[in-house]
């Protein structure tokens, strides 16, 4: 079946611009995660949804970052007034149950964001 998809795959933004990154998880997956991965580093947790509920947003680096999953499937990560330090790959992952980290996460290909 289809895996996790993300769009766009690449995004170039001018500093100060708002961006929206989309994640389509595997159909029926309860849990959805967003991560930020800087070049040469491991992914860093941003936020977690169980269905439409955002249960953990402790990893969001500032109030310019906002994520939603209104119907419990597709999720959008929005970054307002982008800064150069926001340049990174943004990864989305989903997992079948609500057991948060007790099970395999399936990752999308990521969106590579470059802020000029």
């Amino acid at each position: 079946g289809a895996g996790v998809s993300q769009s766009p795959r690449y995004k170039v933004a001018k500093r100060g611009q708002d961006v929206a990154l989309r994640c389509d998880p595997i159909s029926g997956h309860v849990s959805l995660f967003w991560y930020q991965q800087a070049l040469g580093q491991g992914p860093e947790f941003l936020t977690y949804f169980q269905n439409e509920a955002q249960l953990d947003k402790s990893g969001l680096p500032s109030d310019r970052f906002f994520a939603e999953r209104p119907e419990g499937s597709v999720s959008t990560l929005k970054i307002q007034r982008t800064q150069q330090e926001d340049s990174a790959v943004y990864l989305c992952a989903s997992s079948p149950g609500g057991g948060i980290y007790q099970e395999t996460q399936y990752f999308g290909p990521g969106t590579r964001l470059l802020v000029l």
Binding site: A93, I100, T104, Q105, Y106, P109
Partner: protein, 111 residues
């Protein structure tokens, strides 16, 4: 904020050799997972080992976990060029219910 630290940072071996990567972490965990990332397939889950397990196998992969030393190792036997990738450990931190990836080991398998 990354809890896991992989060692070595980079590893270059010949095809057919074994590759061993180590991961150390700082706090009590529920489980530890290993992931592989390459440009072709993105980040892929390899294996999960729970805190009450000491060793797990999956195909050519062998993972050990020593909770007293807060460390894990990933062994890839009979490596192939297709194993070339970055390998990350990820820990599910017990008390704060957080999930952390390490900084990764970059493995290059030369044909």
């Amino acid at each position: 904020s990354q809890q896991g630290e992989e060692d070595p940072q980079a590893l270059s071996i010949q095809e057919g050799e074994n590759a061993t990567m180590n991961c150390s972490y700082k706090t009590s965990i529920n489980n530890l997972q290993w992931y592989r990332q390459n440009s072709g397939r993105g980040l892929v889950h390899l294996i999960l080992i729970r805190s009450n397990e000491r060793e797990k196998h999956s195909g050519r992969l062998r993972v050990t976990l020593d909770t007293s030393k807060k460390s894990s190792s990933l062994l890839i036997t009979a490596s192939r060029a297709a194993d070339t990738a970055s390998y990350f450990c990820a820990t599910d931190e017990k008390h704060f219910n957080k999930f952390y990836f390490g900084s990764g080991t970059k493995l290059n398998v030369k044909p």
